[in-house]
Symmetry: C2
Subunit: 441 residues, 2 copies
């Protein structure tokens, strides 16, 4: 069953990738209109899911995520579909044109990755969001939701399918899988599925990464560090730290580790002022704790750092704090303990900043600003597929580009390799780049 | 042991990525000079490997690949190091610059992927080639060779290490692992190793892909198809087919499947003329065999296609031949049976070509030219890391670019997210692209 679903998605993807931007936009509008018309039915199903969640004593945070009628969530979700429809077409963009020889031209053209498997928990709006991203980018998608949004998922799937049926998008371009058991079987379909996108908890992402050979776009941990250099503006440091830690502590781009240049021993109370005022608890290394013991900082807000605190994503009003000898040891610490998400240096010294920006192996290297800017919308990508801590394909906040790859087109006039040097012939290649704007494929 | 090697490579990679192009070029020249000076010692070790191979009755093809003194192989290998040194620096190239707000600028800068694991068999020149590619691209590399080139590998490793020791490249930037047992352990180091590059047989690539979670750059199969459309120039088809099949039959870009539009039944002898003249054996479908039986083509060059022939990489003077109803069924056949390497349409009909170019899900879609052009040097990449049939990161012939990823740099003046819309504040983002050539980081 999982294999058939994946195979059908693959076939649908080869049709979907040939559709024009206009055809894909019409399909997105149809999905938008279908969901809008069914708003009350969707809310009804959504209430059932929330009731079941309460009966099963699920956390109030989870129930809040389930609730599609909360505030303007439903309208935002629908507007999101139209926003994605309006984005620049990512398919078929020319990124390289080169004359290999007279009458033999090479073109590199963007193309959809193929088939996406999206696994999510308790976030019914992902159905609309991912359907939109997939169709816009020409990728087929298989959506797999957690059982906690079963009713909402069932009706929304039905509406998305029905809406697409009236368009030229093949029906298997977006398939929805309800049952829990299929996850493992789907994760085995590396022959047909090109990319897995998990939307949910750290545990979900980790368990998916451990159970598939298919590339996974996303991140399990966001252990972001802030290094306060000896030449830092301390008021700036205090302000950035408060924002990075407390603006949204459960965000993956929240700061979890604070490293302070050891020459700033006496200035630590100044540096952590913003954190202390916001009520953050400092998990202090021994030497930091010593310095703070002599300060006016409430003892309740300083606890000794224990083993693992500098490798921990607290996701709460807690931060690990330690001294570091210099920018080099800060870099080394982050390259060893960080999660390659986003890391910050605060300094007025350009040399130290340059060293840090060049040396830290992380998706986002920041200078004098908050790690909280690591976000596709803030970067101006229009949408966000996820934030990747992978080292290949896409890194950091990922927009539609992350769902694209390319194909090489070679257009000839009967050219054969055997006529050229290196393959038995005498002709040399020209290898002359062609101005992209002059090409009409 | 494998973990320590991988960990050391990771640490070395964070230093290597900060070196300037000049520093990396000096290191490459040192490796070149070291190998040149030790030419005779290397040949001596190489002879031992070839003797051992003969004693172990290894194939003459393998012994040929082992032989570093054959023709100009050694000189070509050394020249390759200098050629790679001369390539444009792939590190630190600016690919996006955007003003998010006054004093808050986002930059996307190319960076090395990190740590490469290169596994190869019986090709000692890979040591020089990969060392050069890794150093030039700022990636650390772990090289693992098959036991058949043990002696050559041992001395060349020693020379590469000694040559690098006199430069600023960290000694663990290129590590060589001799023993066979470590492969499995190395393939488990997904925490430290970012990319595996296999150089060797299909079986090697397949076994690596099956035994690691680390992304593998390369391809197991090259099942390239050529579709001769009803509007094809038949003389051109015959010529391209002969080249694509026979110019280098053991190449992954050689043609393995020939699909002919069924309206060309009577022209089949004309189409396959080049193949027949070159001595190729046609593995013909029933209907093709029927047509050929009535022709002047030697019966010995036509055998019935058996199950699996249309999913087979012959790598010999053999090709599977079948009819197809139209361009759509050719596309469907290739999307089902191909290996996403390189596929060709021969036609004078632009609509059919456009359909094919858009719909075939393969790294190289070719129109009226030979599949044999699928090659990094022919594409003008200066070097080739491999040919990828993956769907993410890199596709088709891969140059140095395939060893690169990017980092986002965000440079601020104390900016915090909480001041902006969406995170509690009132400021809107500007999101204005900056002309790349005007940026001086």
């Amino acid at each position: 069953m999982a294999e058939q679903v994946a195979k059908n998605a693959r076939i649908a993807s080869t049709v979907l990738k040939t559709l024009s931007n206009e055809e894909r936009i019409i399909a997105l509008k149809a999905v938008h209109d279908g969901l809008l018309k069914a708003k009350l039915d969707i809310f009804e199903a959504n209430v059932k899911d929330m009731q079941a969640a309460k009966e099963n004593n699920l956390s109030s945070a989870l129930i809040g995520r389930l609730d599609l009628s909360k505030g303007d969530k439903f309208d935002v979700m629908l507007q999101g579909i139209l926003d994605v429809a309006d984005l620049e077409d990512p398919v078929g963009k020319l990124t390289l044109a080169r004359q290999l020889d007279q009458g033999l031209n090479l073109y590199r053209v963007t193309a959809p990755v193929g088939v996406l498997l999206v696994i999510f928990e308790a976030r019914p709006e992902v159905i609309a969001n991912i359907s939109a991203l997939a169709i816009k980018s020409g990728n087929a998608a298989i959506l797999k939701c957690g059982k906690e949004c079963f009713h909402t998922f069932t009706i929304m799937s039905k509406i998305v399918s029905e809406s697409l049926a009236a368009t030229v998008v093949p029906k298997d371009a977006v398939q929805m899988i309800g049952s829990r058991e299929d996850v493992a079987a789907l994760l085995d379909q590396d022959k047909y599925i090109d990319l897995v996108i998990p939307r949910g908890s750290r545990e979900l992402v980790r368990s998916i990464k451990e159970n598939t050979k298919i590339p996974v776009l996303g991140h399990a941990d966001g252990i972001c560090s802030i290094y306060v250099d000896k030449d830092a503006d301390l008021a700036m440091a205090s302000r950035i730290l408060a924002d990075a830690k407390t603006n949204y502590p459960s965000g993956c781009n929240a700061a979890e580790t604070l490293l302070i240049h050891e020459s700033l021993k006496d200035q630590v109370p100044q540096i952590v002022k913003g954190l202390i005022d916001a009520g953050v608890v400092l998990h202090a290394s021994e030497s930091v704790a010593e310095v703070l013991a002599a300060s006016l900082i409430p003892a309740a807000q300083v606890v000794p750092a224990i083993e693992g605190d500098f490798d921990k994503e607290f996701l709460s009003f807690d931060i690990a704090v330690g001294f570091t000898k210099d920018v080099n040891s800060a870099i080394q610490h982050i390259n060893t303990h960080g999660s390659k998400h986003t890391d910050v240096i605060i300094t007025d010294n350009k040399d130290a900043a340059d060293k840090f920006l060049k040396s830290v192996d992380t998706a986002g290297v920041y200078w004098n600003c908050s790690s909280r800017f690591a976000d596709g919308f803030r970067y101006g990508f229009g949408t966000e597929v996820g934030i990747s801590t992978n080292k290949i394909h896409s890194r950091g906040p990922v927009g539609l580009e992350g769902l694209m790859i390319y194909q090489y087109q070679l257009r000839g006039e009967g050219n054969i390799a055997g006529d050229y040097l290196g393959a038995g012939g005498k002709k040399a290649f020209i290898h002359k780049d062609i101005e992209l704007s002059s090409v009409q494929l």
